[in-house]
Symmetry: C2
Subunit: 202 residues, 2 copies
DNA sequence: GGACTAAACGGACCGCAGTCCGATTATTAT
DNA sequence: ATAATAATCGGACTGCGGTCCGTTTAGTCC
């Protein structure tokens, strides 16, 4: 988790990080994972986190900016893995399969992802102003748009991608499964049906 | 806004409302509309509202339950008017037109509605746990589902309605228009395209 | 009118996310 | 080693939504 900088002056890039700052970040991430494992993401408050990690509250916010930022950091590993799979992995999720098949696979994988990391994802998006500025969310949407074009979608792929992305919103998916009691497979089936109809068109 | 109860005992229904309670509710609604007219819905805090209306903070919450509840109350008039139009009004929005045409009209009207009352609607849905328990939202979704069935949708109309409703989420629509700078007409066009493809199917 | 009761009242209080600024400490140059 | 400097630290503070409970008051029954 630490590395020796090749260049002392560190040309290009943030001007390095002080050792205590790095130590505190690790402490905070560890404490956050502990608390989430114990009581779930919703019970993680910034005060409790600071106390558990043995640092001041200001430190938490300087490190992660906000609660949502912390959650995004916690998600970033699995998030990056997921991104790698649909961008560079084997088909049908990755490149090599027709657009429609990749779309179907994408939805299925995303639903599975939300079932696993949903609470975290929801917490990461619950930033007051911008639920749609989250980089990962924007990337997904552009990916869907790309696949739509590849599948021959002619009419406003950007907005179609927006609509399809709305369907995969973690909040909605979790509500459907946890509150409405729908089976995840049913969501997957419905997604397949939806994108098929949208792509095949009138 | 007030009426004389026909039966003193008030069979069936809440056990009447005390006069001071009614007076305070009117005061609060008036003050809320003032504040919103002055600074917009986001600047309306429950403390300010209580102060402006000349009542205690506890009174505000007993009256409306929560900030979201207050916003829903403020919306209820225009909300009811909208509902009446798509349930009993003239076609193509109301009954009498084919399902697909009604769906298209519904989306267009909803987009227009959000452009007008969007901030309020967003505030009304921003209750932590349940953005989807709002009665109006549930009604819309069931209405979409009904229209889908009427238009001959065979595959899981409930989930298809859920996906389509997600497209019409106020938060998303406002973000598309205000942040992304998309023209509302483009949203309407895309909606028409979307529902047409979904209904006409594979 | 006067007593009784249930409801409404109000504002102190809580936990939360996020901000601010004086004190502290790691780092670099001398 | 020492001083200078810039980043980090910590916790008091703010504003918010929401809760609680002792006090007040409207409606009712005699």
């Amino acid at each position: 988790m630490s590395f020796i900088p090749l260049l002392p002056g560190s040309l290009s890039g943030p001007p390095a990080e002080r050792s205590d700052a790095a130590r505190n970040r690790e402490r905070l991430l560890g404490a956050a994972r502990e608390l989430i494992a114990e009581c779930g993401p919703d019970a993680l408050t910034m005060d409790r986190l600071a106390e558990r990690a043995g640092v001041g509250k200001g430190t938490v916010f300087r490190r992660f900016g906000s609660r949502a930022g912390l959650m995004m950091t916690l998600l970033s590993d699995s998030e990056a893995a997921f991104q790698a799979r649909f961008m560079f992995g084997p088909p049908p999720l990755g490149p090599g399969a027709p657009g429609l098949e990749r779309l179907i696979a994408f939805g299925a994988e995303r639903i599975a992802y939300v079932m696993e990391h949903g609470d975290l994802a929801r917490a990461a998006e619950s930033s007051a102003h911008s639920r749609y500025e989250v980089p990962a969310v924007m990337l997904w949407q552009r990916h869907i748009e790309h696949l739509l074009r590849e599948a021959g979608m002619d009419a406003d792929p950007l907005l179609m991608a927006m609509s399809l992305a709305a369907t995969l919103d973690p909040d909605r998916l979790l509500h459907a499964v946890r509150v409405q009691g729908l089976a995840p497979e049913r969501l997957t089936d419905s997604w397949r049906e939806l994108v098929t109809r949208v792509v095949r068109g009138r």
